[in-house]
Point group: D2
Chain length 154, copies 4
């Protein structure tokens, strides 16, 4: 993988404030020349995709359902799985690091799967369930730490 792929995980519905954080994460991923990987739907997924696309970046949406039309409007490449929640594992595997923005049980499941698979997890106001999650305070720091963790792992 020559180009970095960074995953963004979070709830499918979110507050305006959380959406702005997610958008800034996506924008910073694009600025760093990385590809944003997410679940392709709304909320944090849509806001981060918007940020990335508006900054000229590319976005991959790994969709749970049966149609590419489920993708939010800021997805460059829709991957249609039909696997429902089992697609979460693919979001984790297809990312070299993951940034969790808040999130509910679904996000916790992805965070735990990422830790299971040994992927770096950066947390922004998210589940504080393990010292292995790198907690940060800003979107810029999140992306910076993600790239740092990827480079250190190689």
């Amino acid at each position: 993988m020559s180009v970095l792929q960074i995953g963004v995980i979070g709830a499918g519905q979110c507050s305006r404030e959380t959406g702005l954080v997610a958008e800034a994460v996506g924008r910073e991923i694009a600025h760093q020349g990385a590809i944003l990987v997410c679940g392709g739907l709304g909320g944090v997924m849509e806001s981060s995709s918007r940020g990335a696309q508006q900054a000229g970046g590319m976005t991959v949406g790994i969709l749970p359902g049966f149609s590419s039309e489920d993708a939010n409007p800021f997805i460059t490449i829709p991957i249609v799985t039909g696997l429902s929640h089992a697609r979460n594992v693919l979001v984790v595997r297809s990312s070299q690091a993951l940034i969790a923005v808040e999130g509910g049980y679904g996000t916790l499941s992805e965070v735990a799967m990422a830790l299971t698979l040994g992927k770096p997890v950066i947390g922004l106001h998210t589940w504080d369930v393990s010292g292995d999650i790198i907690m940060v305070a800003t979107p810029e720091e999140a992306v910076q730490k993600a790239i740092h963790a990827i480079n250190r792992a190689q």
Copy 2:
């Protein structure tokens, strides 16, 4: 589903003490006439399967790999998925309630997936990450609460 299916989740390797707890959980599931569903491998999965089978119960092992020979010796029905960690979602979906016995990140991922899908989760010395997890102190109480939660949901 006429017969109850109760999932047991936990680490693939465990201490002797944890194994005894898991075995008692499996035994109690069989005594209650339910089928035990698990990931089919070692540790908590194997101990609970042993307990169930020795008490005359039936066990289903939803395996991550490519061969039924990966199953521990106490699995009645091996389901071979070849899906690796994505098979965790199937353990959750195929159970009407889940009992988590300790466990690491993999177990946390399954606990969170169960909560995402609205399945009752009973915890024995496991991740205390949500008030939605019904924490109990003994294997018998775990199975009792699981059956109670299933009946209440119907």
Copy 3:
């Protein structure tokens, strides 16, 4: 796997005549002491499950959807996957041999997947696309050839 698991594949809707053939296949699988594995829904899956259960056998239904209630009434163990058509691969992997009864494109897909994975395929009035499919004329012969092929492979 101490007990043989034999898969039965075919369309989710079928004629009365085809249903009788599928039922006889299921009955013979049970008579031979093997477990019947199928996709858990209607048509050939339901008829073969009925035959097996009425002959005292056990049946496993690997369901594409989200609820065990999707299973036909003759399924002993429902496996709920939520994977839609991707569950076909699990039917193949969880069977030591497969018997195809007629069938459309979905069945052809499973036949081809079974051949890809090196599983014996027995055909009853089904897709004649390869010399590797063992074509037979009767349900009894189908189960006999399946068991013979499994034993030879071990």
Copy 4:
């Protein structure tokens, strides 16, 4: 999906002649401004990806294994699934039409899955198992027919 995604399926190992056909298919997909989707490995997948990338196109490789490094060198976006053969369904679902270039049982399985899901299938020297497969003689014709079928379906 604003940009067309066209799948190319075929064996993981192929003759030099078949490779040249696949390469021309990939090149034509890129010339038409579509994204090439494939299984990401060698043979027909690699040759078609090479053709697409050298013509300035984008390629998506939906990998069966656990590492993006399994991808052939001409994959722009590796999707890491860990699902083994079950990933074939994702190649089909993520494509609006599929072009089959020769191929063995694995390809037949994907062709049948595509027909099951109602996707147009264009065949180049491939399994002639159904009148629903649009058989063509040249790579250019294959891509032309694929785009025509997609447009007609919308």
